[in-house]
Amino acid sequence: MSRLFTLLGLVIVPLLLITWVGSPWLSGVATSSLILMIMVVGLHLFSGNSGVLAFGHVAFVEIGAYACGILTIPSIAKPAIFPNLPYFLAHTTIPPQAGVLVGGVVAAIAAAILFFPLRRLNAQALSIVTLALLLIANIFFSNIRLSSSGGSVFRVPLAATLWNVVPWLLAALLLAFLFQRSRLGLRLRASREDEFAAESGGIDIGWTRLIAFVVSAAIMGVAGGLYALSIGSFSSADFYIDLTILLFAMMVVGGMRSLSGAVIGTAVISIVSNFFSKLQNGVSVGDLAFHVPSGTANVSIALCMIVVLLFRSEGLMRDLEINVADLWSKFKSN
């Protein structure tokens, strides 16, 4: 239990500080980092426990974002923006938080349908096939004729403020924590360590992966809904290789097999990349204004990944979880 509280504290305390400082730039950055953290937690739930790299998980973020976006845009504005929506969608508007939930549910349903036939593939083939799913999702969402501008969505209400995102993040962390400790999580990790041994031990790897995949897709969908509500307008290009690599960088730097690793990795990469993004946009020190070329932030992310993988290839946290009680007892015994 103290492990869970440590994890939640790790998120809450810095946020309280950020709110106390009250800089709008900082809380904007924090909001988008928290949404990314939800995605990383979702990705960790499947990839961390199963050892299968799900390169296509961003597709579920996309599904969640589209579902939430389309449902939460005020219905007065809809006919003008999206003349092609079916009647039912064109005349319904639901509150933002409900939209997020629907995003998660729709993503989970899509994941169940898509993954069911794939459950028998081996780990490597599965990674690449999910990547193919991402390509398909990208082609689909960039070519559907939602509006005059193709597949882009705009005028989504900007309802995802910092403290609106936090409950969703805590829920995702709780879910991932419980999953990790459940029988299902244990079985999935067994299949990660040795597929053949796990199978001989009576574990149905396909079904175990299926359930984890659906749960993690639900988290991705929720994150997608929040993304839509935080940015207001988006298109298919937002949910593609760049975001995929960013999420993997965050997960791996922290340690793919650790839930605290997902939190810490997201924090580290967010801080580094936002620092360099700020420099990219230009800063002035005294009366000296300068900026670094665009691409620098990504170079910094890449270097973080490479350095961590070279010198601590299991990530900063390896497969350990931070626990304040352990730290306290260590501190006392010293």
Partner: protein
């Protein structure tokens, strides 16, 4: 008839290009079990090398291009992968993502985000005429390049000492080491050979679009992976065939799909690949039980 031949040549040429992508991916995967995303960026570097043709002649440009890509590929092996070569496969995959992100953004910083026009061997864009048949010279070159590279690869794998070692390592890495194959050497040679294919792929890609941009090889590398999985992970010939089939199918889908869904062409092709994998999870050209083991 003309229409049929015309499209057949397009299909074969795209198939050959995708086969080249797949060979480049499969070469490294077969030996080192690395799914190397950074291969796409090797292709990009190959494409950028054609910019040199403005200052030096065509032949030096080609030589420099191939040399640059091979050196980069070897550097990647030496500095990014060698230390962690025994790590689990996901770690290696993610390392290649990191390397890819690094190279791509260094190119972005160096050349900017706007595509650079390429003025190399302009005659390649002119169509060749055979009666009513018009064939783009680049299509012919693509097919020829695959023939040469494929032939060269078969020769190297079957007739040279390096080739025997590579095949042995692909079959059973541990066993190969026990009988005296030097692990680092054989992995490095697979990277070098893969680099040759990547350079050729990148140059053809750049000539096709007429420009080089920092994300030139991004889509190609993914196509290469999908082709490799379709052919069967661990089978080099299978990968090439997988690539060929996907390229061929893409052109066929272009012709036969109704107008309304043609923007979704590639989605249909990928979905078809997934469908095939459902029935043959080990890939098309790998006998059951002979596929990759983790």
């Amino acid at each position: 008839m003309i229409f049929f031949l015309q499209n057949l040549i397009d299909a074969v040429s795209l198939g050959c290009l995708y086969a080249l992508f797949a060979l480049s991916i499969a070469m490294i995967f077969g030996v080192a079990r690395i799914v190397n995303f950074a291969n796409g960026d090797l292709m990009t570097v190959g494409g950028f090398s054609l910019l040199l043709s403005g200052t030096v002649g065509s032949v030096p440009t080609l030589l420099a291009g191939f040399a640059a890509v091979i050196v980069l590929s070897l550097a990647m092996e030496r500095f990014a992968f060698r230390k962690i070569i025994k790590a689990p496969m996901p770690t290696l995959m993610v390392m290649s993502l990191g390397v890819s992100l690094l190279i791509q953004n260094i190119l972005l910083i160096a050349f900017g985000s706007r595509p650079k026009g390429i003025l190399f061997a302009q005659f390649l864009t002119e169509p060749l005429r055979f009666g009513e048949l018009r064939i783009s010279a680049l299509n012919v070159v693509t097919i020829a390049v695959l023939a040469v590279m494929g032939g060269g690869l078969v020769y190297v794998l079957k007739r040279t000492s390096v080739g025997v070692q590579l095949r042995a390592a692909a079959e059973d890495f541990q066993m190969a080491r026990l009988v005296g194959v030097r692990a680092n050497w054989v992995v490095a040679s697979s990277f070098a050979i893969s680099g040759v294919m990547a350079a050729a792929s990148g140059m053809i890609l750049a000539l096709q679009v007429g420009t080089a941009s920092y994300n030139l090889g991004g889509r190609a590398v993914i196509l290469g992976f999908i082709a490799t999985v379709l052919g069967g992970l661990g089978s080099i010939a299978g990968a090439a065939l997988g690539g060929f089939i996907i390229g061929f199918a893409t052109v066929m889908a272009q012709i036969f799909l109704p107008e309304a869904v043609s923007p979704f062409r590639d989605a249909f092709v990928y979905a078809a690949v997934i469908l095939v994998l459902l029935f043959r999870p080990q890939g098309l050209f790998v006998a059951f039980g002979r596929g990759v083991r983790a």
